[in-house]
Symmetry: C2
Subunit: 343 residues, 2 copies
DNA sequence: TTGAAAGCGCTAACAG
DNA sequence: CTGTTAGCGCTTTCAA
């Protein structure tokens, strides 16, 4: 293993000079000759800088930790893309961890990332409240962290989420304008902010339009991380049909549930959108390639990641900034699953 | 920030003793009393160990670096799950990076992970050859790394991949048994091992069954990472129809392409499976929830990750082991997109 | 049973 | 313009 010392010896200078040159410092006016000598020596000896040593000496890692609930997913990774993009332009690397729907893992990863001395944390917290004390402790210690996609009202930190209340309200209002007033809402049995906000938006749209809220129309399916969303949507819809619930539209909290629901409807020989209109949320890429391309509430995932990253970095650089809580506008994408012309 | 020294002072012992206790060493018979004193002091002072310092002192990080082509994907993350599972049981953490279809990023991430002093690397290499010298250098320096999902024949290292040749051959043979002899193969314009192996399997099945290989039936679509696979499959199939290519079955190199192809077929009013049988590879969760549930060649992704992880760790512990090159059996899952009864 | 001390590789004053 | 030096926080041998 070549170290700075080796290069210093090889180039006949001190390690300090080598360090300066290799880090491309501005001020020190080191002669072009020694500079080149050092660079060449480094090249010749196949030098690989040791970040572990550098980080220890500097007392900072220039790394952001990111914790999201799952890997095999089409939503969060896109947010992470945005995070990475913004982070790297500011010179930060990111380290990714998965809480896998398990609050012990969430805690473990927070702990690990702190031990690794990341400069800040981006977290999509689990629906499980159990780590609230942990987050509060971070807050007290003024350790910078930002929530993404969902927030915990009990933890007053920065966050960047979609304005799902508004998005849901828009989607449901659109269904009502199509004349579909008996709207099922397929959601998850969870109390995370996204679920609450969407439900609120759904109710708000009904109320605004003078419609009653019928609890029978709200179907909450299993939201465990390990569960298959498609299957959950499929089974949820099946139960509604078995109960002979009367409805003309379905509003799902995510596109995956909607895919499952569509399958049940098809098996029941119900036509989409002629008999039933269907709307999802997330606007996943696959949604437009379904047999009934899915109308969906699009979220700007890349933007969410970018903003969150930027806010975190600002907080790292200036811990006393005012907390920022951002709700990003969504965008209703119309496709055949609600196409009014085909009714 | 509390350090070992603070705890030592608080507990009235030396840092060496604190280190021993906190690392739960076996041998040193430290008195129960001092042990507890130390543990309590650590607790009281909210001690968080500094891994950066520990790693530097130890000269090893117990971290495996993982590089996969993309995040927003349903294949690789599952492999990563397997990797993580096996790694964590051996006490290793993993750090995940994405090459994003860009060989410069691939190189940059290899470099970064080396600087971070990971103990080994798991890589799904890009189709781009440009980093072969880098991998060869790793090989020369005896730095442990294992390829996953795909391999570079030019780089003689360990790898764990699916036996796609065999899997493809089985799938195509099955189509032939169904009486579908004019089989289109939708694949990618890439020379990565997976693409080559599947094509070979396709050809092998045709030859075994005395059928001619018709280049007109092999359609290679854009494989750029940034491209939308669904769209690529959709457009690829469209071109085949426009050219009036005569076929009765479609064998796609992945399920995403198959979803796009299914959409084109539907728009052309071709019935699946009555007119055209369709087979994909990967067996993604969504495949069974499509309007025409997709027959697919399943790969054991979790197992792939686990095995790769285990092999890497063995190599780290024993660099001189013989290289292992593993081809995992695949599994043909039959669904309606080829259901013979409906023909 | 425990402590002193050297050192992991690099950085950053400060001195010259 | 360049070198000396004192750490960063932790581990680990060796001695007591």
């Amino acid at each position: 293993m070549t170290t700075l010392k080796d290069i210093a010896k090889e180039a006949g200078v001190s390690t300090a000079t080598v360090s300066q040159v290799l880090n491309d410092k501005e001020n020190p006016f080191i002669s072009q000759a020694t500079k080149e000598g050092i660079l060449q020596a480094a090249e010749r000896l196949h030098y690989i800088p040791n970040r572990v040593a550098r980080d220890l000496a500097r007392g900072s890692t220039m790394v952001l930790g990111v914790i999201i609930p799952r890997a095999a997913d089409l939503f969060f990774p896109e947010v992470v893309e945005g995070i990475e993009e913004a982070a790297s332009t500011k010179g930060y690397d990111i380290v990714l961890s998965y809480s896998a729907g398990n609050f012990q893992k969430e805690r473990k990863h927070i702990q690990l990332l702190l031990e690794r001395k990341v400069d800040g944390l981006l977290v999509a917290p689990l629906e499980n409240n159990q780590n609230i004390p942990i987050f509060r402790e971070l807050l007290e210690r003024k350790f910078p962290f930002v929530f993404i996609d969902r927030y915990l009202p009990e933890v007053k930190t920065d966050f960047v989420v979609s304005d799902l209340k508004d998005g849901a309200c828009e989607a449901v209002s659109y269904l009502i304008r199509l004349g579909r007033t008996k709207i099922v809402h397929i959601t998850k049995d969870s109390n995370i902010s996204t679920v609450r906000d969407v439900l609120e938006g759904y109710k708000m749209a009904l109320m605004k339009n003078g419609l009653k809220i019928n609890q029978e129309l709200v179907k909450a399916v299993n939201s465990e991380i390990s569960s298959n969303s498609y299957e959950a949507g499929y089974n949820g819809m099946k139960k509604l049909l078995e109960k002979r619930v009367d409805f003309t539209a379905v509003f799902c909290i995510d596109d995956n549930l909607a895919v499952g629901a569509l399958k049940t409807l098809k098996e029941a020989k119900l036509k989409v959108p002629q008999d039933i209109s269907v709307v999802g949320m997330d606007n996943l890429a696959v949604s437009s390639y379904l047999t009934s391309p899915l109308t969906s509430v699009a979220q700007n995932k890349i933007q969410m990641g970018k903003l969150a990253s930027e806010i975190l970095i600002k907080r790292i650089e200036n811990p006393e900034n005012k907390k920022k809580q951002i709700f990003l506008k969504t965008n209703l994408i119309l496709r055949e699953s609600t196409n009014e012309k085909e009714i």
